[in-house]
Symmetry: C2
Subunit: 374 residues, 2 copies
């Protein structure tokens, strides 16, 4: 059993595979299912960490690729680790950097050793390997580290995906070996295999055998259709041990969250709530609204009448629209805080519904309002 | 006596003209001398109002010109006034819009009636007159309103300045007439007259006769040298009644503040602390620092070791430098909060020094550290 992370399965929903769990880390307890806001560059964009905490966030995600390139993980280590550096003292999960190497880096070359890429910032050449990814994540001092994997393109051939998935397992073993802090930093493995059930089964079998403290289902939040996403969810979580947390990376819309939870997933993250905030979009219990819209010019009601967040308690749509039109940072601050609270509150509602065996009812009720206009 | 504003002169410094005062407004008490942060577009840029308050700010300034054009003062009025609209419940001072018409507007024409200008936002044509300025400020509901004046260009002829100053007095009388809320919104007059002492005396005599609740010394924060600025300060405050607050608009560097206070000024404002913050500059007890500088890359000390602000309590120079280099809004948030706290703390120190008759000693001590590198 991992000393760095403990998972307790508190309750299983009666009519779905939804699970109510509790994850204990060196920086505190996380009640699951849990949505994790993203602080890519050691900051959740346009928010103080206290404001992030006020939304109900229990854990944030930060990005190894970005922090390795800037400011450099040695600086974060010298600062006393990422928690200290960014003034966030609750749990942190770091990704492996793999996904960004494949999506942001240039001139990459993948070998058995790792990936060679050029920085998107200054073009400088770097190598990311299982050992290097874990070294950086050890420097950052995150509570949960992700194994370095290749997220194969969704349009890759079956043969490529099979080979890539096998390499991901070999890389996972090197990650385990490389972890300098197994007692304080829990390493999660990542299941790959694309949309091929037999490859997913092979992947799961290989990584479960390594008895890691948690597992992610990789490669289903990028480029897939919602049907393909649900298709994998229908069997993939069951391939993972029920006494370990299960994580789907990069999802953050209510419908994707409901589907993940319904199929037994405990953790998810996404940049979307803060990204759409910067484009003037708020997620509300009645669906999304674009604050630019002229109809909000004299709308003195809050973004979401059902929301209890700082933004909705203190500001009107008319004010936020004014800020957005005037190019004021405060519009990003207020919309980001609301959007994060929306997903934290949704997670709270989901947890309560599981405890009360009415998760599917919650899903129905939520959809009936959220999609009322559709 | 004005019902909207009360001024108490609590103590006069023994060795200078510095005054310790107290201004009471409908939204609360202001201890003077006081620095007022600027929230141009109904927001102090990149700061929540709670954070502005945390820096010790007692009153903020907001801009009539900007709010009249966007979102429109009718919308602010319908929202319940500016305090409610922007969630700042302490005192607010609004300027008249005059200065921005002359600095930001295009194709302007000045007549006895007022100023015709084109919006810097969309080119639309507008008129700002004494009546219109007060109407907008009444809509905004500020505690202190400024009279609509012409801030004549510093290079204008003596003849022009003399005529402009006389018109400013005629405009002031129209402002007084136009004020719908004399019991809740105090109107300040503005002394003009350029760098001509006799014109300043004429201006002061004319506006003091109108027995307003406070007075500003206009036209000395733009385009003048520091010698010209001090030259006017040496006689101008004495031309104003000692039992009314005195305000110099648009100053916010420590040396300009010290000079103003030394000569009997009670109030001042400036966009500079938040503007330089967005360019990565912090004001500290040891002078200004540019956080971009490579020497801060591994500097884990706070921006200013003597500062007690949120930023200095929780973040290092290395972290703020990282945020700034990475283009993160959080760098603006943290630097703005520090820079505002710096000037609020300076004001606190100044007030205490006046109470203890050691203002000139404080000035000397402050300069010896602030300019140590110069």
């Amino acid at each position: 059993m991992s000393k760095a992370l403990k998972f307790e399965l508190l309750h299983k929903d009666y009519k779905s595979k939804a699970r109510r769990g509790r994850i204990t880390t060196p920086h505190g307890v996380i009640e699951s299912p849990v949505f994790m806001p993203v602080g890519t560059q050691a900051t959740v964009k346009a928010m103080k960490p206290e404001s992030v905490g006020d939304t109900g966030a229990q854990i944030i995600l930060s990005n190894t690729y970005h922090l390795m390139l800037r400011p450099g993980s040695d600086i974060v280590r010298e600062a006393g680790g990422l928690h200290e550096f960014m003034n966030w003292h609750k749990p942190i999960l770091t990704d492996s950097g793999g996904f960004q190497v494949f999506s942001l880096g240039h001139m990459r070359k993948i070998t058995e050793e790792g990936a060679i890429f050029s920085s998107h910032i200054d073009g400088s050449k770097h190598m990311l390997s299982p050992e290097k990814s874990i070294e950086v994540q050890n420097d950052l001092g995150s509570d949960i580290m992700m194994a370095f994997d290749e997220c194969a393109p969704p349009n890759a051939s079956r043969d490529y995906i099979a080979k890539s998935q096998e390499r991901t397992t070999r890389w996972l073993k090197r990650c385990i070996e490389a972890n300098r802090n197994p007692d304080t930093q829990a390493l999660f493995g990542i299941m790959q295999g694309g949309f091929y059930r037999d490859l997913r089964e092979e992947s799961a079998e290989a990584i479960v055998e390594l008895d890691l403290p948690g597992y992610a289902i990789g490669g289903i939040s990028v480029g897939e259709t919602k049907e393909e996403y649900i298709g994998v969810l229908e069997y993939a979580p069951d391939l993972l041990p029920s006494d370990k947390p299960r994580y789907v990376m990069g999802i953050g819309t209510p419908d994707y969250i409901f589907e993940a939870v319904e199929h037994g997933v405990d953790m998810f993250d996404c940049v979307e709530p803060t990204r759409i905030a910067r484009h003037g979009v708020a997620t509300t219990s009645q669906g999304r609204i674009s604050i630019k819209n002229a109809k909000y010019e004299r709308d003195f009601s809050p973004l979401d009448p059902e929301c209890d967040c700082y933004t909705c308690r203190n500001y009107s749509r008319a004010y936020i629209r004014h800020l957005y039109k005037a190019g004021e940072t405060m519009s990003h601050m207020l919309l980001s805080e609301h959007n994060l609270r929306f997903l934290s509150k949704l997670s709270e509602d989901i947890r309560k519904s599981i405890e009360e065996d009415r998760f599917m009812e919650l899903k129905r009720e939520f959809y009936s309002k959220y999609y009322a206009d559709k």
